[in-house]
Symmetry: C2
Subunit: 338 residues, 2 copies
C-alpha cells in the first residue's frame, strides 16, 4: 500500500525502548555498541528495533552532539565538465575514508548563486566547505572561516581572506606549453583563453606571455583571444584565426572546453596548425592531442585532506598546495610551422 500522508512518522528510540521493556538510555547504549549492556538486553533491543524498522535519527543526534554534521560541502562549476567531476570524485573518495559525506552544488558560474549555496551549506552545518569559486571576492566568507568552519579553495586562490588552497601550477604549465611550441619553431602562436576574470586563466596567459617574452617573440600578439567561454565560441574563434591572411601556425588553448572547440574547428583540415591544450581529456591519446596535464583527482584528494586536517583540529596558518603540470606530447603540439 503506498503511503498517502507525507508525514509518516518513523519509530523513535523511545518506542524501541518501550517495546524492549528497557529505558531510553539503555536502548541508546545497545544500538550504539556502547559498553555496559548485558548481552541479553542488547539482543532484546536490537530485535525490537528490527521489528519496528527503526533507524537512527541522525538529525537529532547531531543536534545533541553539538550541531555539526558529517557533511562536507563542495560548491563548484558545472559538474558536466570532466574537470569538475574528476575533482569531485577525488574529494568524495578521500572523505569517505573518514566517514564524511559530500554534498555538491553547481554555482553555474554565478556569483550570487554561489553565495546562496554557501549559505545553504553553512546552515546545514557542514564540517568544512570546499569551493571552486566563480566569484572574485571571497571576503564574505571571512567571518565563517574564523567561526570554526574550515574553507578550502580549489583551483582558484582565496581573495580577501586567508584559507587553505589547492592550486594548479597554471603559469608554469602555460609557460612550458609556450616553450614547447617555440621549440618546434613556431612564432605566430595563437592564445585562446577563457574569461580573464578567472584567476587561473590570467595565470595561464601570464605564463604563456612570459615564455614569449623570454624568447623575444612578439609575433603572437595579433593572435591573442580572451573571453572565449564555451565550445561553440572557441570553435568559431579558432576558425576565424585560421582564416586570416597570415594565420597562426600554432594554437594554445587554456582549458579543456576551448581545446574541444579548437579540435572541432580543425576537424577537416588536411594540414592543421599545431595545438596544445591546457587540461588533459579522455580521448586526447586517440586524437593525438598534446596537452598540459595535471592530476585532477589528486587536486580533489589533497583538498579533502586539508579539510579533514582542519576538521580534526589542526590550526596552523593557511596552506597552499600546488599541483604540478607536465606536457604530454602526442603529436599535435609537435607539428612544425607550415
Amino acid at each position: 500500500m503506498p503511503v498517502d500522508d507525507v508525514t509518516v512518522r518513523r519509530p523513535t528510540l523511545t518506542q524501541v525502548a518501550a517495546l524492549a521493556g528497557v529505558s531510553l538510555k539503555t536502548a541508546s547504549r545497545a544500538l550504539n555498541q556502547e559498553p555496559n549492556v548485558a548481552p541479553s538486553t542488547g539482543r532484546r533491543v536490537r530485535d525490537a528495533a528490527d521489528l519496528l524498522g527503526y533507524r537512527l535519527n541522525g538529525i537529532a543526534r547531531e543536534l545533541r552532539r553539538g550541531a555539526t554534521s558529517a557533511l562536507v560541502g563542495l560548491v563548484s562549476g558545472d559538474l558536466t565538465n570532466p574537470f569538475y567531476s574528476a575533482v569531485a570524485s577525488g574529494i568524495e573518495r578521500e572523505l569517505r575514508q573518514h566517514g564524511l559525506l559530500l554534498i555538491t552544488a553547481n554555482n553555474d558560474e554565478d556569483a550570487m548563486l554561489e553565495r546562496s549555496l554557501v549559505d545553504a551549506f553553512l546552515e546545514r552545518r557542514v564540517r568544512a566547505l570546499l569551493v571552486i569559486p566563480s566569484a572574485d571576492d571571497h571576503e564574505y566568507l571571512a567571518i565563517e572561516g574564523n567561526r570554526g568552519v574550515p574553507f578550502v579553495f580549489l583551483d582558484r586562490p582565496p581573495d580577501g581572506l586567508s584559507a587553505d588552497a589547492v592550486l594548479i601550477d597554471n603559469a608554469g604549465g602555460a609557460r612550458s606549453a609556450g616553450e614547447h611550441l617555440l621549440g618546434a619553431g613556431h612564432r605566430r602562436i595563437a592564445l585562446v583563453s577563457d574569461l580573464v576574470r578567472m584567476a587561473p586563466q590570467r595565470a595561464r596567459i601570464d605564463g604563456f606571455v612570459g615564455a614569449m617574452r623570454a624568447a623575444g617573440n612578439d609575433a603572437w600578439e595579433p593572435f591573442l583571444r580572451t573571453g572565449v567561454h564555451d565550445v561553440r565560441q572557441a570553435e568559431r574563434t579558432v576558425r576565424d584565426l585560421l582564416a586570416l591572411d597570415q594565420p597562426p601556425t600554432a594554437v594554445f588553448t587554456t582549458n579543456n572546453r576551448l581545446t574541444t572547440g579548437a579540435l572541432r574547428a580543425m576537424r577537416e583540415l588536411a594540414d592543421p596548425p599545431a595545438l596544445i591544450g591546457f587540461d588533459d581529456f579522455d580521448l586526447a591519446d586517440v586524437l593525438g592531442t598534446t596537452v598540459v596535464a595535471h592530476d585532477m583527482t589528486a587536486l580533489g584528494r589533497e583538498a579533502a585532506r586539508l579539510a579533514y586536517e582542519r576538521i580534526s583540529g589542526h590550526s596552523g596558518p593557511a596552506r597552499t598546495i600546488v599541483i604540478s603540470t607536465s606536457i604530454i606530447a602526442r603529436g599535435s603540439g609537435e607539428r612544425p610551422p607550415r
Copy 2:
C-alpha cells in the same frame, strides 16, 4: 587568529534575541520573514544577528519541523564517468529549483558499500533517494519505500520492490545499432559488452541479438565478448578480435568506456572496422564516431522530477519513464565491410 578548539559554539537565536531585547519567538519570526513583526523590531533583530554573526541552525530547525531535511541523496557509480556526472548534473539543477540539495556518493560498483551509503543517507533523513544501483537485489530497500522515503531508480530497474524508475531504451537502442550495421552490409559483427550482471548490459545484448536474429544472421556469434569492464580490457579485447584470422568487419560497444577502448585499439589502423558505441561522448563528432545517443541530463532531470512529486505527496503506483535513443551517424558506423 586561527581557531584552536574544534567546538567553537556559534551564537544561538536565544543570544540574538537577548541582544535585541526581544523574546526568542520574536527573533525567530523576524529572521524567518514571518508576518506580524514591527519593522523597527525586525531591524533590531537583524542587526543583532549580523553583529553576532548568527546563522540559522538548520539541524535544529529540521528536528523541530519533523526530522526531515532538504537533502536528496544520489548513490551512483564512478562520478568520473561522464555518464554519471551528466546525470548528477541534471538532478542537481532540477532539485535546486525546489530548494533541495543533492548529496552524492559513489558506490564504486560495490554492493556492500552501496548498502552502507544508502544507510548513511537514510540516517541523514534525506527526503528522497536516487540510486543507480550496482547491486542486483534491492529488496532491502522495500521497508524504507513504505516508510515515506521515496526511491527512484536510474538506468536500472528495481528488483524485488516496486519503485519509480527512469530507464534508457537499451534494447531499442542496441537493436537499431545492430540494424544499422546490418544495413551497411555487415555480418561478422563483434559485440563487446560489460558485466552481464548489470541489467542495462543484458538489455543491450538482447536488443542487438534480436536484430541479428530478425535478419537471420548468426555470423556475429564467434565475436561475442562480455564481462569487459574497463578501458584497458576493452582495448585489448578489440585488438584481439581484430587479430583473428577472420576478423569481424564491425564492432558494437555497449557503453562509453568500452567505446573508448575500441577507439584506442583502432587508433593506428589504416582501414579500421565499422564501429558504433552506446552512449554519446564529448569528442565523438571530432572522431567521427557513430553512437547510440540519449539525453543523460534529461535522465537525471526526470528522476529528480519523479522524486519531487513523491516528496510533494504524490502517491500513485510506481512509474517508469523511458528515455529514448537515437543513432547519430558520424562515419564510423557507416563504413562498409572490407
